[in-house]
């Protein structure tokens, strides 16, 4: 590294010298000027800024310390023009020598160029609601790009499904629009349109468990900027994919004039942030005795044994499942720069995170090359190429209703059962409280450690473009891009694991290849009619073709566990599976902008999409939008309003669509079933779905009114938006008479409404020569409501794919209520006397209610507790969310800290429910120590029983409100003199902590959880999701 940097510095100096030499002209009068250009907020010198004397061609470029020097014939005072990419071009009147020139970053300005769909626009001219993710947010420790959106932008709610490395997230922009189809926003990565469907990282391998986040294939360190398009005026250009909002990700490009090598790296460790309170061996033994007594059996443990468990024979299965100080590291090296005609950025990244749960980790190697060249004055071309390989080892599923994964199984294992044998091997034979299968009892720690559950992702994302200026006003652009995602999953459960025991080893492999080719052809026309009328137009035609192929195979009954998944032929094959699908999307798009004197801006945009996913009768959908914005401060009457620097009003309306409805759903399908004749299985073909030739996109109409306000010379910047979204034609499996032979048909029939408001506030709280403090506050509130389900149906219970939850039906979709509403009983204490049992309402399906059982509220007063007494227990959608981020700099130190919070959301804590059901064989929550007994008449915890019935009640629908110190980072930048001595341009070291403190009433591992990932029908269920971790890291950023 040292060698490289020395050579590099040499080259750099050479360049600098030639640069200065080139600028040497012969002045008439010799006068000198020494100056420094610095960032006006951070006071950091700006390297490579161009300084020109106004009215001359005389210009220089600042050096590595931001300094410049003139010998000129000009006399004081004269004007300098200072410019640097990303900063506002500034004119500065020089009156004396030397000078310090402050440059202000363009980001805060209305003149800033904002990336919008198929182009850029000045923020001042924009009519739509477009927000940028603050730079500080882009430097978080995370494996996936979508996590960078968390708390960054008003109106965007990011919920990670779990704390597992590489875990998926669900991203909702202004609430979920769809009931059954996709709700994730559209991602546009360097012009490539990607729908983040995590199903793409699954090849259908049995027991593989939660999927890997597909967006983890984009290295967050490569990201230059992220914009979020929220309203219809901004997203209608994406037509049938715009309804859920659009996230535009731009990766780092080279800049003209400076070559940089930069290294960014960190190392850290993670710990579980919280453990559940479970029973110890002594407490559990006494519980088991009580359960035995409740079914008339003799106790299993004597009082002496129970006492003895207090000192020996207690096994903490929960702690055994977790790692302590699980390491995480990341290294990124990038080369970037450019000259007059070319710009490049080449980078390589390595990320390696061990999970806090045994057996889980995530590794990624990413390579990127971005290149752009001006071939001639009129023609420019470029390429953005990205390759990523990642390997995730995950926690699989165990496949039973009570224990959906080994983590839950560990928590539920009786604490008197040893984890390991005396020889250090895992105890897989001795557990009298579990059923032995082929001689093995479940040992979840063994399952975690020894089950192979890999997901390998290989992704190539590449786009090429050429741009040709036909005339000064007319530009044409052609882009072709390819996205290839290959997923290979490997699974092997040895014969002594829970999933492998029944079949003497279980192996499964799967492969999915999804390829997408996108061609976009656009034409841009820009013109002015006189001084006052500015006009621009965009037109285009695009075509996207996607093809996917899945194959998986498995085997079991292996002789031994030596070859695992790589020798399926050594076992007994299970039925293989293969599938292929393709889809085509053709689009025409157009946008027209008109601006009058910069005061009144109009945007009309729209797209026509033809999609192969739609039915034959409705192949094409049309999505128009209109927007208007008014720069109030440009009006004469507004000139004198004190304190108001800028004010802008935005009004937009439009229609967008959602085509994430799946492939082929309009066709009548037939599926295979098996039946045996003569002991041999034969394949039968039966109809599974009726055709719906009218099947089409889901349609969202959105209205938005926004106000952008900058006060006190932009010390306070305020963005306020109110919106209303109405989504119709939602794809719903509408119930039809079962006597037809079908349960449901897919129809565009449902409706959902979202309304809310968002506030973004950035402030410059303090600024002195050495000290600066800036804040960013984001607040959003969304109200979601189902308005129609169809065929006169008012409600339905989504089928939760878990044996226990499926029967409990914890979630309802009901007209008038938000999606993700929990439905269950209100509790009413405990039956304390036989008289209460005899006279008070009891659950009809539970025969033999006894004293000590839980009581529920008979809401309809019919004297019996039935399903009719269930009611709304709250929704998993928060009432509001917010974040508060701060950047403080003092001299060479900088401190970033951000709080994130959510209020009013509920979580159905299914794990706690399982832990509070007493059985003879599983561990229980410590709360059951306070269970009802004749001598302890608890009114909260019922008596010990052996009844495994789970009942959805308000006890398990918990408040998930939280406030979290999400990130705190302290950085130190070495003084220029020191870093120069080290042969570098800049050196920064930092330490940081993530999830340091969380304030919440939630009793589970973490209130940010969703066991069923991106699913919109039953979000907010916590059934033993992988817990969140506290992360501490220290890092180093060096630029050479």
């Amino acid at each position: 590294m040292k060698k490289i940097s020395n050579i590099y510095i040499l080259l750099f100096l050479l360049l600098l010298t030639t640069g200065i030499q080139a600028q040497n002209t012969t002045p008439l009068i010799q006068s000198k000027l020494d100056g420094t250009v610095v960032d006006d907020i951070t006071n950091q010198p700006i390297i490579g800024a161009s300084v020109t004397i106004k009215g001359t061609t005389h210009g220089v470029i600042t050096d590595a310390e931001g300094k410049f020097y003139f010998q000129t014939g000009q006399k004081f005072p004269y004007t300098l023009i200072v410019s640097y990419i990303g900063y506002k071009k500034t004119e500065f009147i020089v009156e004396k020598n030397p000078v310090i020139i402050n440059l202000r970053e363009e980001r805060q300005e209305l003149d800033e160029l904002v990336v919008v769909g198929y182009g850029t626009q000045k923020r001042k001219d924009i009519t739509g609601s477009v927000a940028s993710v603050p730079k500080a947010n882009l430097s978080q420790v995370t494996s996936s790009a979508d996590n960078l959106l968390r708390g960054a932008v008003a109106g965007v709610v990011v919920t990670q499904s779990s704390g597992r490395p590489g875990a998926s997230s669900s991203v909702r922009i202004r609430g979920g629009n769809s009931i059954t189809a996709g709700n994730e926003p559209l991602y546009v990565v360097d012009g490539i349109l990607i729908y983040n469907d995590n199903a793409n990282s699954s090849a259908g391998v049995t027991y593989a468990g939660a999927s890997v986040n597909v967006l983890s294939t984009i290295n967050p360190a490569d990201i230059e900027s992220i914009e979020v398009l929220k309203d219809a005026s901004a997203t209608a250009i994406y037509g049938s994919r715009g309804a859920n909002g659009v996230v535009i990700i731009t990766t780092k490009k080279g800049t003209k004039g400076q070559d940089n090598i930069s290294y960014q790296g960190y190392f850290g460790f993670q710990n579980i942030s919280k453990k559940l309170k479970l029973m110890n061996a002594s407490e559990w033994a006494s519980l088991r005795n009580d359960v035995q007594a409740s079914i008339g059996q003799a106790p299993s443990f004597t009082d002496a044994q129970i006492e003895a468990f207090k000192t020996s024979g207690n096994y903490d299965w929960q702690s055994a499942a977790f790692r302590t100080a699980a390491p995480v590291q990341s290294h990124n090296l990038s080369f970037s720069g450019g000259d007059e005609r070319s710009r490049y950025s080449v980078s390589a990244g390595y990320f390696d995170q061990e999970g806090i749960v045994l057996g889980s980790d995530f590794k990624r190697i990413s390579l990127r090359a971005n290149y752009e060249r001006n071939y001639s004055q009129n023609f420019k071309f470029g390429v953005n190429a990205n390759y990523t390989y990642s390997l995730a080892n995950g926690v699989g599923t165990a496949g039973s209703g009570r224990t959906p994964n080994p983590l839950v199984a560990a928590v539920l294992t009786a604490p008197v059962v040893p984890i390991k044998n005396e020889d250090g091997s895992y105890n897989v034979t001795n557990n009298p409280y579990a059923t032995s299968v082929n001689g093995y009892v479940p040992n979840p720690i063994n399952d975690l450690e020894n089950t192979t559950n890999e997901t390998n992702l290989n992704r190539i994302l590449t786009s090429l473009f050429g741009e040709y200026k036909i005339t000064k006003k007319l530009t044409a652009k052609v882009a072709v891009s390819g996205d290839v995602l290959n997923t290979k999953q490997n699974y092997y459960a040895p014969s002594n694991t829970t999933t492998g025991a029944g079949t003497k080893g279980l192996a499964s492999v799967g492969d999915r290849l999804v390829g997408s080719v996108l061609n976009e052809n656009t034409v841009n026309y820009n013109t002015n009619f006189g001084e006052s009328h500015k006009f621009s137009a965009l037109g285009g035609y695009t075509l996207q073709y996607t093809k996917g192929e899945v194959v998986n195979a498995g085997a079991n009954t292996f002789v031994n566990d030596a070859n695992t998944y790589n020798a399926l032929q050594d076992g007994v094959a299970v039925k293989p599976y293969s599938e292929a699908y393709e889809s085509v999307l053709k689009s025409w798009l157009a946008r027209v902008n008109y601006s009058y004197k910069g005061k009144y801006n109009f945007t009309l945009s729209g797209r026509a999409d033809g999609s192969s996913r739609f039915g034959a009768e409705s192949l094409w959908g049309y999505f128009p939008s209109a927007g208007f914005s008014w720069n109030i401060t440009d009006e004469e009457f507004a000139n004198n309003i004190k304190g108001v620097t800028e004010a802008k009003l935005r009004i937009t309306a439009g229609t967008t669509g959602n085509q994430e409805i799946g492939n082929y759903l309009s066709l009548a399908s037939m599926g295979s079933v098996n039946y045996s004749f003569g002991g041999t299985l034969y394949t039968g073909i039966a109809p599974t779905r009726l055709a719906n030739p009218d099947l089409k996109w889901e349609k969202t109409t959105q209205y938005n009114v926004g106000l952008d306000l900058s006060l006190l010379d932009r010390k306070i910047n305020f963005v306020f938006d109110v919106y209303y979204k109405k989504t119709n034609d939602l794809l719903i499996s509408v119930p039809v008479p079962l006597s037809s032979g079908y349960a449901t048909v897919l129809q565009n029939i449902g409706g959902v409404e979202n309304k809310g408001f968002e506030v973004g506030l950035t402030t410059e709280n303090l600024k002195t020569e050495n000290f600066a403090w800036n804040s960013n506050i984001v607040f959003s509130l969304n109200r979601n409501k189902v308005t129609e389900i169809g065929n006169g149906v008012n409600e339905f219970f989504p089928v939760v794919p878990n044996g226990s939850l499926l029967q409990q039906q914890p979630v309802i979709v009901k007209v008038g209520l938000p999606l993700g509403t929990f439905w269950g009983y209100k509790t009413n204490g405990i039956f304390q006397t036989q008289e209460e049992v005899n006279t008070q309402p009891k659950i009809n399906s539970l025969a033999n209610t006894k004293v000590g059982d839980r009581r529920y509220v008979d809401t309809n007063g019919d004297g019996v507790i039935t399903a009719l007494d269930k009611g709304n227990l709250g929704t998993s959608q928060p009432k509001f969310v917010g974040s508060f981020s701060n950047t403080v700099s003092y001299g060479d130190f900088d401190l970033n800290f951000s709080f994130q919070g959510s209020y009013g959301a509920k979580i159905f804590n299914a794990l706690n429910q399982q832990l509070e059901i007493s059985t003879l064989g599983t561990n229980a929550a410590a709360t059951l120590n306070d269970r009802w007994t004749p001598t302890n008449p608890s009114n909260e915890i019922p008596r010990a029983t052996s009844s495994p019935l789970g009942i959805v009640s308000e006890r398990y629908v918990e408040d998930a409100s939280f406030l979290r110190l999400k990130l705190i980072t302290l950085g130190y930048t070495l003084p220029k003199s020191v870093s120069k001595k080290l042969g570098t341009k800049s050196v920064k070291v930092y330490v940081s902590a993530e999830n340091l403190i969380t304030w919440t009433k939630y009793t589970g591992y973490d209130p940010e959880v969703s066991s069923y990932e991106q699913n919109n029908l039953y979000p907010g269920i916590d059934f033993g999701s992988y817990p969140n971790s506290k992360t501490f890291i220290s890092g180093l950023n060096v630029t050479f």
Binding site: K575, P737, A847, L949
Partner: protein
């Protein structure tokens, strides 16, 4: 520069015209490209049979869901502690209502099977191939359709009669109103009469398909349910004397032994095979699935009252220890385990206790012993206990006690009964013979003794006259309230 522009425009045109919006699926067939060949017809009828034994994502009709309605809700069985579905428990205590998910799922699975049969019957005529085979396949589909309507009419009374496949998603086209029970029975008799022309036997590879004997046997059951004694006698005698070769197994256990599948006593059975080549949930899911291992934990399916239903078997009656297990050998420990209460055993594969829900034991829809008892009952109802009637019931009894079937045996043979006591004897015999065979509920309803018999079990004292029919599923009535009036009492 010209070159650039040309290259530029060419690349633009490259992809524009090459793809169409209509895509053809490659991984599943659509109805447009099906029903062309005889193989298509065969596979469509295989799917009709599969509706009896397989419903991915749900327990199967004859493997489990009918059991709740025809056995668990009846007197001898009940829901144990391990039954986690409150709806199952409600059925067990007869407190269920029209929202019962098990009632709904049985209704759905019956009609899904009827629809598959309709699809086959509507489309097979248009495929190419042997007319003989095509007629046979259509008659097989009619047999299953008749069998399913027979279940439906006994569970719910007059149900909607749907005889053609659904082709549009228009709600008006998908709705069908209730018919009367007589109309449903007329349709059943029509289908089963057509099915009488099925082959009497098949090759070993096709064992398990519906036969003419099976059609006549089900017809006998239909007629006895209708109290049409002459036709019952006619059809039962045709089964016995028609040269089909049916006979009782010498050993009662053989009926439920996987190596004796489709044997001489089995007239029609739902075929179950364990997970072969990943064939999901095709396994039988009776008691087997609720086998909770060698623990004291009560399974999901239990005997409701040991004294009333276990202790009643006379000494030497082999049916008790085939139907129930008080003790089982634990293969892991090699010791005999005693259960707190006898567990159901007919469908428990003792050689495969590790995956008890994947057994290869068939479910006997109708077996020869049923025909013997049906004929005996019909003769007794028509003309009192004749010598033929005695011989029929005594053959079943002799086999139960392991005696020579056709040799009179004073130790077990019934003698000297009048019509009423012979009727009572038949009823007692059926109770002991058909544990977990989907007969008990229909027998009690047929005899008009449902309420009196079920009431004898304390936990089931909610039973009332309404229970002679199950409620039409509420979800069904929500969509078509006028066309589907509810049964009384719900």
């Amino acid at each position: 520069m010209k070159k650039i522009i040309i290259t530029f425009l060419l690349s633009a045109g490259l992809l524009v015209s090459c793809t169409e919006l209509e895509v053809t699926p490659e991984s599943f067939v659509t109805e447009d490209n099906y029903f062309n060949t005889q193989d298509d017809a065969v596979a469509s009828v295989t799917a009709v049979y599969a509706s009896l034994s397989l419903d991915p994502g749900e327990q199967s009709l004859f493997g489990r869901n009918l059991y709740f309605l025809t056995d668990m809700a009846s007197d001898y069985a009940a829901a144990g502690v391990s039954a986690t579905n409150p709806q199952v428990r409600a059925l067990s205590s007869l407190t269920h209502d029209a929202t019962s998910d098990r009632v709904q799922v049985a209704w759905r699975q019956i009609y899904a099977g009827i629809n598959r049969a309709n699809v086959s019957i509507d489309n097979i005529p248009k495929v190419s191939g042997s007319e003989v085979i095509k007629t046979r396949l259509i008659n097989e589909a009619k047999f299953i359709r008749g069998l399913l309507y027979f279940q439906a009419v006994r569970l719910w009374g007059g149900v909607p009669i749907v005889l053609h496949e659904a082709t549009s998603i228009n709600l008006g086209d998908l709705k069908t109103n209730r018919s009367t029970a007589d109309e449903v029975y007329a349709q059943i008799i029509k289908d089963l009469t057509d099915a009488e022309s099925l082959p009497a036997t098949y090759s070993a590879a096709d064992a398990g398909r519906a036969t003419s004997g099976a059609a006549k046997a089900i017809l006998a059951k239909v007629y006895i349910t209708r109290k049409d004694w002459p036709n019952t006698i006619l059809k039962a005698r045709e089964v016995i004397n028609g040269g089909y070769g049916y006979a009782l197994f010498e050993d009662f256990q053989d009926i439920f032994t996987k190596t004796k599948k489709n044997g001489k006593e089995h007239i029609f059975s739902v075929q179950f095979e364990p997970n072969q080549a990943g064939n999901g949930s095709s396994g039988s899911t009776f008691q087997a699935t609720s086998f909770t291992g060698f623990t004291a934990t009560e399974p999901a399916d239990i005997i409701s009252d040991v004294a009333l239903f276990y202790d009643i078997y006379a000494a030497g009656d082999k049916r008790r220890d085939v139907s129930y297990a008080k003790q089982l050998l634990n293969p892991t420990t090699g010791t005999l385990y005693t259960f707190p209460k006898p567990i159901f055993k007919k469908y428990l594969d003792l050689t495969n206790l590790a995956t008890p829900s994947n057994v290869a034991i068939n479910f006997p829809v109708i077996r020869y012993a049923d025909i013997l008892l049906t004929l005996a009952e019909a003769i007794n109802e028509q003309s009192g206990p004749t010598a033929e009637a005695y011989e029929l019931i005594n053959q079943v009894r002799r086999r139960a006690f392991g005696k020579a079937i056709t040799t009179p045996d004073v130790t077990v043979d019934l003698v000297a009964l009048n019509q009423a006591s012979f009727r009572a004897a038949i009823q007692e015999e059926r109770k002991k013979e058909f544990v977990q065979e989907g007969q008990r509920w229909f027998d009690l309803v047929r005899w008009g003794t449902l309420v009196t018999e079920v009431k004898k079990v304390t936990a089931k004292n909610s039973v009332s006259e309404r229970n002679n029919l199950y409620p039409i599923p509420q979800s069904e009535r929500n969509i078509n309230p006028d066309g589907l009036p509810q049964n009384p009492g719900y």
